[in-house]
């Protein structure tokens, strides 16, 4: 990839990438209007069921209760993973294509984790009482949380993940906000001046910045692998057939990266077009993202297969009953949607022509997002709907409220992302300059 010829030089970077600060494409307003409309509807829905109670949800009944909340929570946490993978792990591996997509992928991570955090909040029903349970002070009974509970590990993991991702993202933004400050005038100059903390771009500052960025990447790398492992332990640490399995952590991490990479592509293709960034976020960068999606898709395919095999091979009738029912029971539609979207459709990408065909890639990436949502729905549903007490078995289908709130979370995500695209550099200005040809005089010492 280092041999690729660039049509642009570093002098074009600031002027051409920061076009988003000017007047955007009219499609931008259309997209923002749609996202904000759905968001407002969702806010109204949340306000309503906060007043009247969660009983208005069709599926809010034994045995599944918060099924769609949990699904959305796991789905959105998973979406965030590609951002950290791209920004931290690919940074350590020095994969150059990440320099063009890391900024928007990191932003995606933060917004996805915010979307995930919405669901534990709204599942409480009367959220205004939730503040006490989140921070039970005064702790009159002197009772502490159960540190051996996977749910508490999850709270620690997600909070750490959000904080670290936010710090990582903002630290990367500081030099770029300095670049914006030096291009704009008036009140914008003051605002971006404050946001950039007074960054000047001295070699000494870059020296400390680079060291810190490397350490943050090194810290975020094990973190990204741990977060979805811990999310998977919410299920795997129980003794529920279909959940209690050691394959869950790697399987969840691979699935998270699959859905995240697909979401990166889903977001970047229209954004690249809207802001004329084709010369910077190039086709080969998008193809690299597709290759990563294909890799994780094959890992997920393998995990689905081995999970089924072990359910049969173990000879555990309860385990096998859950799996047989997933594939051939009343919820088989979700299962086969998951298989086709996550495993079968991505196989087209073994062909380079298909990897470069943006329409095909876009459709498959959207389908992967659908498939990954159904994967979580499928896992959580099958575990909850039939547990150890046949008397509590039931049937569950998502209703208007669950579907509406799911759409609302997408609206929240897209609203945040579109606003980010309007006010911040979509591509990291300082990092893309590093992978472009260095401005050399052609004579004298050429550095290292």
């Amino acid at each position: 990839m280092s041999e690729i010829k660039w049509e642009k030089s570093i002098s074009d970077v600031n002027s051409e990438i920061l076009v988003n600060l000017g007047k955007p494409h009219k499609m931008f307003y259309v997209a923002l209007a749609v996202a904000v409309t759905f968001l407002l509807i969702a806010v109204g829905m949340v306000a309503y069921h906060t007043c009247v109670g969660l009983g208005v949800w069709k599926g809010f009944a034994p045995p599944t209760y918060w099924l769609v909340d949990i699904t959305n929570f796991v789905f959105w946490v998973g979406i965030g993973h590609a951002g950290t993978l791209i920004s931290a792990i690919l940074f350590l591996f020095r994969a150059q294509w990440r320099n063009t997509v890391n900024r928007s992928a990191e932003a995606m991570t933060i917004f996805a984790v915010i979307c995930a955090a919405v669901f534990p909040a709204i599942h409480m029903g009367r959220m205004y009482l939730g503040a006490y349970w989140a921070l039970p002070l005064p702790n009159t009974n002197n009772l502490w949380v159960n540190f051996r509970s996977p749910l508490f590990w999850d709270v620690c993991a997600i909070s750490t993940y959000f904080t670290t991702s936010l710090l990582f993202w903002y630290m990367g933004l500081i030099p770029d906000l300095g670049s914006i400050r030096d291009r704009v005038t008036g009140i914008k100059k003051v605002v971006y001046g404050i946001l950039s903390f007074g960054w000047r771009g001295t070699a000494r500052q870059w020296h400390h910045y680079e060291t810190g960025y490397g350490f943050l990447a090194a810290l975020a790398t094990p973190l990204v692998l741990s977060v979805h492992s811990i999310v998977s332990w919410d299920f795997a640490m129980s003794i529920q057939p279909g959940w209690h399995t050691t394959i869950f952590p790697p399987y969840f991490v691979a699935g998270a990266i699959l859905s995240g990479c697909a979401m990166v592509y889903t977001l970047l293709l229209p954004i690249r077009w809207m802001f004329n960034l084709e010369k910077f976020i190039r086709d080969d960068h998008l193809e690299a993202c597709i290759k990563l999606t294909l890799l994780t898709s094959t890992i997920v395919f393998y995990a689905y297969g081995i999970e089924f095999f072990i359910a049969w091979y173990s000879g555990n009738v309860y385990e096998w009953a859950i799996f047989a029912k997933r594939a051939a029971g009343p919820y088989s539609f979700y299962f086969w949607t998951m298989i086709f979207c996550n495993c079968i459709f991505p196989l087209v990408w073994w062909s380079k022509t298909m990897r470069l065909n943006k329409k095909v890639c876009y459709v498959v990436c959207v389908l992967i997002n659908v498939g990954m949502w159904f994967e979580r729905y499928n896992i959580i549903l099958s575990g909850l709907v039939e547990d150890f007490l046949p008397g509590s078995w039931g049937h569950s289908e998502p209703g208007f409220w669950e579907i509406g709130l799911t759409i609302g979370s997408f609206a929240l995500f897209f609203t945040f992302f579109l606003l980010f695209c309007k006010f911040f550099p979509i591509v990291s200005l300082s990092e893309i300059k590093l992978i472009m040809p260095k401005p050399m005089s052609g004579h004298g010492k050429g550095g290292h």
Binding site: F197, T202, F215, A220, E431, H443
Partner: protein, 170 residues
């Protein structure tokens, strides 16, 4: 005298600024000079020959504090009110479960300390930062010499070293 008074030499090319930075290093009349770059080129870092950044110590101390805090939080709560959950004895016997807390706190404190380290070492936030030239965060390199004048020997040296523009800063 204003602290930002001096001379700024603007360079267009990476190799020229690296050569100049290497030559001015250690020169008495270039004391406290600053090199500017639009991005983190390693060539400039090598030319300036900075010692390893102390940010690593912030990271290390932060991460270790996090490890101790994570384990201590769980163990001290157990000590204060021991509860057997799921047949598991609290305290030191539940240590495997607390590895997760130790790990997460290591990352959290390490990341926060790293960012604090970068801010401290870069002297940020700096509300009084003087921006010498808007092109320094775009595509130009620069060497700034405090206290120098446009007709002094430092400016002459920068010009000879390949600076495309020399300007006085106030």
């Amino acid at each position: 005298m204003s602290k930002s008074r001096g001379v700024l030499g603007l360079f267009k090319h990476l190799d020229t600024v690296c050569n100049a930075a290497e030559k001015v290093r250690g020169r008495h009349d270039f004391k406290d000079h600053e090199v500017f770059s639009p991005t983190s080129y390693h060539e400039i870092e090598h030319s300036c020959a900075y010692p390893p950044s102390p940010v690593r110590w912030f990271t290390f101390v932060g991460a270790m504090t996090g490890t101790v805090t994570g384990f201590a939080l769980a163990l001290l709560c157990d000590w204060d009110w021991p509860i057997v959950v799921g047949g598991k004895t609290p305290g030191i016997y539940s240590l495997p479960a607390y590895v997760i807390l130790g790990f997460e706190f290591t990352i959290l404190f390490g990341a926060i300390a790293t960012v604090i380290g970068v801010l401290v070492m870069c002297r940020l936030p700096n509300p009084k930062a003087t921006i010498f030239d808007n092109r320094l965060t775009d595509d130009m390199f620069g060497i700034w010499v405090p206290g120098a004048t446009v007709d002094g020997p430092q400016a002459k040296f920068l010009k000879e070293a390949g600076a495309v523009e020399i300007k006085a800063t106030h």
